[in-house]
């Protein structure tokens, strides 16, 4: 099953909009997410890397072009602006920009309280072999 990978985020990704090199996706961070008991005991906060994973899962669900799957090869930059808590909805709005054979995903991440993060990810088509 190509495209299926292990992930710390088990919540479903919903694609709200998927246009020409632009997409909006969201993940409802239910309190049952498996990361919360350990991050942190008695005070659950959605890990920053899981916010990045929400963008990654959204990017995989709303790729810029049809074709071979894209693999995450770099986090170009990320700036965390506010925490994400159990029950929040993480909404990612992103633009795809071609860079040679690579694709850059430039995302703004929001919750109901405002900006949560700015994330820029780099993807490369995965060689699926013969």
């Amino acid at each position: 099953m190509a495209g299926v990978a292990a992930s710390p985020v088990t919540a479903a990704v919903t694609v709200l909009d998927h246009g020409d090199r632009h997409a909006v996706t969201e993940v409802v961070v239910d309190p049952g997410q498996q990361v919360f008991p350990g991050h942190y005991p008695g005070f659950p906060i959605f890990p920053g890397v899981c916010v990045v994973e929400c963008v990654n899962l959204g990017a995989q669900a709303a790729p810029p072009v049809a074709g071979p799957p894209l693999g995450l090869v770099a986090v170009e930059s990320t700036r965390f602006q506010s925490p994400v808590f159990p029950g929040d909805t993480v909404k990612s709005e992103f633009d795809w920009v071609a860079d040679g054979a690579d694709w850059l995903c430039k995302a703004q991440v929001h919750t109901a309280r405002g900006r949560a993060a700015q994330v820029r990810l780099r993807y490369r088509p995965v060689e699926t072999g013969a």
Binding site: M1, A2, A6, Q34, P41, I45, L72, S77
Partner: protein, 163 residues
């Protein structure tokens, strides 16, 4: 003043838990060696298919690589040990807490599979009054699998999280 750095010995799980608030399943550092306060450290994490991230992976999935964002999390926790070593606060509700401010130029250069032992190399680039910046890389069997250009951690009052 002396120019001779003091290297702390190996830290096991109990010592790591004294300085980090992370717990199962999000405690992603198993052992720390060569800790030089204010300079850097080496840390190890064994990757296994028994981690919960693999629970939902179908048996016929062809990609068994460790989640890339968790490679970053594990590396950052190792950096957190260096920050917290001198001022440990394994409570996230009081005092000064360490927040993940941001990162740049993180490259994943090879997949990491269950059975691998990650070797994280952490170097402190710059320490300001409330912000610490790190760089480094991670290796598996001598091969670089992750390069970290810059990770920023900020010390903030816990009230910024608890409101």
């Amino acid at each position: 003043m002396t120019a001779v750095a003091t290297t702390v010995g190996t830290l096991g799980l109990a010592e790591i838990k004294k300085v980090l608030p992370h717990r199962f399943p999000m405690l992603l550092v198993d052992r720390v060696t060569d800790l030089e306060p204010g300079v850097g450290l080496t840390a190890y994490k064994a990757v296994t298919a028994n981690e919960p991230w693999y629970a939902a992976l179908p048996d016929d999935a062809t990609d068994a690589s460790y989640p890339r964002v968790l490679l970053v999390e594990s590396w950052c926790q190792a950096a957190g040990v260096l920050v917290a070593w001198e001022n440990p606060n394994p409570d996230v509700l009081t005092g000064q807490v360490m927040l993940f401010g941001g990162m740049a130029d993180i490259e994943f250069t090879a997949p990491v599979l269950p059975g691998s032992v990650l070797e994280h190399r952490i170097r402190l680039m710059r320490a300001l009054s409330d912000t610490v910046i790190f760089e480094g890389e991670s290796l598996v069997d001598g091969e670089v699998v992750l390069t970290v250009g810059r990770v920023v951690m900020a010390m903030r009052p816990a009230s910024e999280l608890t409101g």
